[in-house]
Symmetry: C2
Subunit: 342 residues, 2 copies
């Protein structure tokens, strides 16, 4: 019985019949220890309720009580609510945030990462730039055992957790809803980016069409930077089309609103001529007329979850290795912009 006794690395070492040095290295995720042994150590540590792990203790001695946050842009309602959620949890736990934006540039993201590293943040929360594919600029964090969590715009990485919504499922849902309103020529405005967010939304759109036996038309996939201005430009493009769509699913609300305003000005009725749906549930979706159907993206909860997960890890109460991906719920909000059959 080990009930009230604090579990140490000696307990783990003796149970597994390996040296304490190996246990210590495994808990620090040292590459000299094999993955198999690491798994054994982690599983047993978890099972025995080993809490104050070496890694956390090691960090604690040099903590700055600062969490770094790198985001693509600070100019969206979604991102400001994520940051508010992070801050709420971080402040309660006695951490300060320092934030930087990559402005959608990998080069800036590299500089941001270096700045965060030099400022000796205790942990890092990152939403990736549009065009980031190589993650090597984050290696300095992994090497120093500084935990890193990706949120929203994520990437698979053995040392990091990802926190996101099921973008594919959400896009499948919104596209199916447009189909249920009688739409068959559904366009999708998305970003020129390999980011999971846009790739998955496009995949959800495509699969909903396929599942309803609607042929996909490449002309109906419009690439843009998803700004409000880009929405207005997309509207001009759509007005020139020979076969205009009868519905448009836009990968964010701001761009949807820009597109709607320009089409309305050209005399297009919404949803009569073209139904509309966006993504994010930005407040502007309830200002535009008609109000915009959208996906409620729980930004605040995402921020809270990311911060809590990071701080639990810093306190030795959770390991990055156990939960690799955390999926948050999103939901379809139907408003007048898509209700053709009301």
């Amino acid at each position: 019985m080990l009930d009230n006794k604090e579990i140490t690395i000696y307990d783990i070492a003796s149970k597994l019949n390996i040296s304490t040095a190996t246990v210590s290295r495994a808990l620090k995720d040292d590459p000299v220890v094999s993955k198999k042994t690491k798994k054994k150590v982690f599983d047993l540590a978890e099972q025995m309720g080993y809490r104050s792990n070496h890694f956390a203790r090691n960090l604690r001695s040099q903590r700055t009580e600062t969490i770094g946050v790198i985001v693509p842009r600070l100019n969206s309602y979604f991102m400001s609510t994520v940051i508010a959620g992070i801050e709420s949890v971080a402040n309660q736990a006695g951490y300060n945030l320092i934030i930087s934006q990559s402005s959608e540039s990998t080069d800036n993201e590299k500089m941001n990462a270096k700045t965060m590293f030099n400022n000796r943040v205790d942990g890092l929360l990152v939403s990736l730039a549009y065009d980031t594919d190589d993650l090597s600029h984050f290696d300095i964090f992994h090497k120093k055992n500084i935990p890193l969590i990706f949120f929203d715009r994520v990437s698979e990485h053995v040392h990091s957790s990802n926190i996101l919504i099921d973008n594919r499922k959400a896009a499948y849902g919104v596209t199916s809803h447009l189909i249920s309103q009688g739409c068959r020529k559904i366009a999708h405005i998305t970003a020129t980016s390999d980011s999971n967010v846009y790739v998955d939304r496009l995949a959800g759109y495509t699969h909903a069409l396929a599942d309803h036996s609607i042929a996909a038309d490449k002309e109906y996939i419009i690439y843009s930077d998803l700004s409000q201005e880009a929405g207005a430009a997309a509207a001009q493009h759509i007005l020139q089309m020979k076969h205009r769509p009868d519905a448009i699913f836009v990968a964010n609300d701001n761009c949807a609103v820009g597109c709607m305003l320009a089409l309305k000005q050209a005399g297009i009725r919404i949803p009569g001529d073209i139904a509309f749906a966006g993504f994010n549930n930005d407040p502007v979706s309830t200002v535009v007329e008609p109000n915009l159907t959208t996906i409620n993206y729980p930004g605040y909860e995402m921020g809270e979850t990311a911060a809590r997960h990071l701080i639990n890890h810093l306190n030795g109460n959770a390991s990055m290795h156990i939960a690799n991906t955390i999926l948050l719920r999103s939901e379809l909000i139907v408003r007048a912009s898509s209700e053709k059959r009301r």
Copy 2:
């Protein structure tokens, strides 16, 4: 003639007949040197074209190439454009930004200032929280000669420059415009804050009324947190009023939009029954129907100016002491929400 020769502290000392140590201390703004002597040294240094000053050289040796930015909230279009402007200038000059938000709390602002100090930022740009009146948490920066500039929400401080618009003049202009449309019962929705921004806008509103011989009515000044929700709440308050206003000037666009939507839902015609004007020229002002009359607040230019001023100072090309306040231009944009006489 000193044309091409680099001016040194020896030249200044010999001209003033004081020791080089005193010149050096004066340029470092050391408190042991009298204000009178400092002024003499600064004036002569300026006049002789002394560039690479001791202060700048001193800092350069320990530069982190990082500028800190503390803002009240990151959730507004205005603030995100200010940050974009700062970043554009900073990145070009090889500086990285780290940003934190006070969430309108002086206590958080104090922690943010400490974090920025511990991260050894080369300079600091600050827009103050609602309730900050004591600035002593910035003393650590002044003591270390780390330059600090306030923007938008500013405070008088002997060691700092302020960058802002003439809020009073802008509010005077927008109120006079509403009066020119035949409005006489003009309400003002503002923040419960002693910040220059809201105090000055209220003063501009009050003086415009007085200059047009309209009696001010305390009932028409409504205090809120200026969120969109607060705008909706203000609308309910206005609907209950015995003498409803015929125009409302709101201290920001988001709150104006929340108020307009709630009044519209209650059957109030805009501008027929109540004319509306906001402040900031947030993109939402062109989404709401009717489009919102507002003040174009040049956030991007404000960010650029603040960053340029700070970096010039860091490079020894400008002194904080010379330009104490920089006022940027703003302009009234008249849209349908206030055009009663069209």
